[in-house]
């Protein structure tokens, strides 16, 4: 019995899940210390955050809306990471996806399901090309993907800002494009919501009505499906095996007959396509248009955090995306409730990533704690 417990414990600590959970706990601990030093009651702050996430169905709905793009950009970064590529360009690929979805959503006149399919499909293709370009110039010319994707992020940002000024696409001077057609939207029951019956329903059904007040959409369902797809491709197909082999050891993979250069391009095509899907679902489900960007929005960069906390896996990205989305949404509540800076969330996320990066440190702390505990037990 004791042996079994020991084995379980060692499995927990040596596996990545245990280390991640400990890192998350340490992130919350450091967040609490910082709040305390700044003169706020951390327990009160965490209670406000917790209530801000779960206390109303509307809040839960918003958490899911916040988490959806983060999960998908997380999957994008994770996919490239498994092939040993660091896709810092999810940000730009997201923007390209958003541009395509907004354009297809506004200019095309198509029936409901077809319109969404075409818009998402075009967004994925365009963003896959955008990401694949970085993979290609790495494979062909040896240009590091970090520098090329940083450049491509900026090109995408300015391209987006150029597109919104086009007369055919945007109302002049507002810095926004026209809203997409209703056939391209993926919101739940959006027409019915504003009908008389819908308004009546929302008024009389507290929980569901509350949810319907938010721009709830089916993007989250797609995020889950994409996570399953990523897991399947990486773990159950020959292609996935080859991509992971390249990530594990490119020289060995090459020797084993895998075309490393081709793998790089394919990996970045997938990674870019995923980030583009994130941008598309955000446009079709939440913003319904694109607007002039004063700075990077950060969906791609947050996706890096999601991927890292989620240990670069499909399921991990879903949970880390939900955690990040929940903290981002719930964390915004402490500003109004107690004037505590909501950016404590960024500090917590940063801390979690830092500890995730240092399994050696966590094991060291645990060994010391264990030794102390044992010695203390012997003495008493």
């Amino acid at each position: 019995m004791n042996l079994n417990g020991e084995a379980l414990k060692s499995k927990f600590l040596n596996g990545s899940l245990g280390l991640t959970l400990i890192s998350i706990a340490l992130g919350f601990l450091l967040g609490a210390i910082i709040l305390l030093v700044a003169g706020f009651n951390p327990l009160e702050a965490y209670w406000v955050i917790l209530k801000g996430i779960f206390s109303r169905s509307k809040y839960v709905s918003y958490v899911i809306i916040y988490a959806t793009p983060l999960i998908i950009t997380g999957l994008s970064v994770a996919f490239a990471m498994r092939t040993g590529l660091f896709n810092i360009g999810a940000e730009g690929q997201y923007i390209i996806g958003a541009i395509m979805a907004a354009a297809a959503g506004y200019f095309f006149k198509l029936p409901l399901i077809l319109h969404v399919t075409v818009a998402v499909g075009l967004a994925i293709i365009a963003a896959a090309v955008w990401g694949g370009l970085a993979g290609y110039i790495k494979a062909r010319f040896g240009v590091h993907e970090v520098i090329s994707t940083i450049m491509l992020n900026w090109v995408a940002l300015y391209l987006s800002n150029f597109v919104v000024t086009l007369k055919a696409f945007g109302s002049q001077g507002t810095g926004k494009t026209y809203a997409i057609q209703s056939t391209a939207r993926i919101n739940l029951l959006s027409d019915w919501k504003i009908s008389e019956a819908g308004i009546e329903f929302i008024r009389s059904h507290k929980i569901l009505g509350d949810v319907l007040k938010t721009p709830i959409n089916i993007g989250f369902v797609f995020a889950i499906l994409l996570a399953v797809l990523v897991w399947y491709i990486l773990n159950k197909t020959t292609l996935g095996y080859e991509l992971r082999a390249v990530g594990f050891n490119p020289h060995a993979a090459e020797a084993g007959g895998i075309n490393v250069k081709k793998s790089m391009v394919i990996s970045m095509l997938f990674s870019g396509g995923l980030a583009g899907a994130a941008g598309a679902f955000q446009v079709l489900g939440v913003s319904h248009r694109i607007a002039k960007l004063a700075a990077m929005e950060g969906y791609g960069f947050d996706g890096i955090a999601v991927s890292l906390i989620g240990n670069n896996t499909g399921a991990g990205s879903v949970f880390a995306g939900l955690l990040f989305g929940a903290l981002k949404y719930g964390g915004s509540k402490i500003q109004d409730a107690m004037q505590a800076p909501t950016e404590v969330i960024n500090i917590m996320i940063g801390t979690i990533i830092l500890f995730v990066a240092m399994p050696k440190l966590i094991r060291l702390i645990l060994t010391i704690l264990e030794r102390r505990a044992k010695n203390g037990w012997k003495q008493s």
């Binding site: 590091h144 500003q335 830092l354 240092m358």
Partner: protein
Amino acid sequence: MEAIIKDIGFIIGTTLMYSTPLIFTSLGGVITERSGVVNIGLEGMMFFGAFVGAAVAYYSHSPWLGFVCAGLGGALLGLIHAIACVSFAAEQIVSGIAINFLGSGLGLFLSRLFFDGATQTLTIPKKIPLPISFLFGEGKLFKSSGFMDLVFNRFATVYLAFFLVAVVWFVLYKTKIGMRVQAVGEHPEAADTLGISVYRIRYGAVMTSGFFAGLGGAAMSIAVVSRFSNTLISGHGFIALAAMIFGKWKPQGAMLACLLFGGAKGVEIYLGAKGFPVPSSLLAMLPYVLTIIVLVGVVGKTTPPAAIGRIFDKSGK
């Protein structure tokens, strides 16, 4: 003719001004990466430096004190990065990403505390001085808004940045400590056998890079503009990182790459002011497209220091 010369002076001057924050940060990148530690956290360090610089300059009324504190703030984040990467064998890119979240989180957290819940500081009372005006008096040495005035009458940080390029070049290539940094970045095991402390060199290099990135942030918040705001840095640290790679991990190369990005900004501002009929966003895109083209066509494969990103463990594990 005179008008054209003045316009050229304006473009050169703005180029110098906008290159400066990038040069500081990029030099920091050169130092850390030459020692073998990747620092993708430059963005966060620059962000934090921009806040600390503006906040200290606001409360102390001394832009120079703000400038130095910005460097120290960056160095503090550098210390965290070094502890993670050098002592605890962290994946360097992952740690760098963490630093970016910590830098922006800490900067905005403190901004809200010290500036009444705002994500920007108030306007600082005194910017970094212009040495030419300071030494010779306004418009005394060069005619006001003349070519020479537009080019040379710039913030002290501009002069300092170019001076530091020379210093870093000299230290890296001509001194014992610079040779050691290079040795540690190329072959840490060999350096260790020769009695060089790989850990100590790397700690020093990473913290120096943080210091420089912090200065870069402050060069933005207390010279180019006169306050910190949450969108001020947005990506400049990443551009500096790219400039360092573009410049092939050399101080002088990084400087030239930063001048390219600054130059594009200068041209963009000039054409915008002249009401040139090309959309500003397309112009703004140019340097990034150009960088990719140059990397693909001319520069080709860039070779980082041999031991970059590799964890060094003295115990030989």
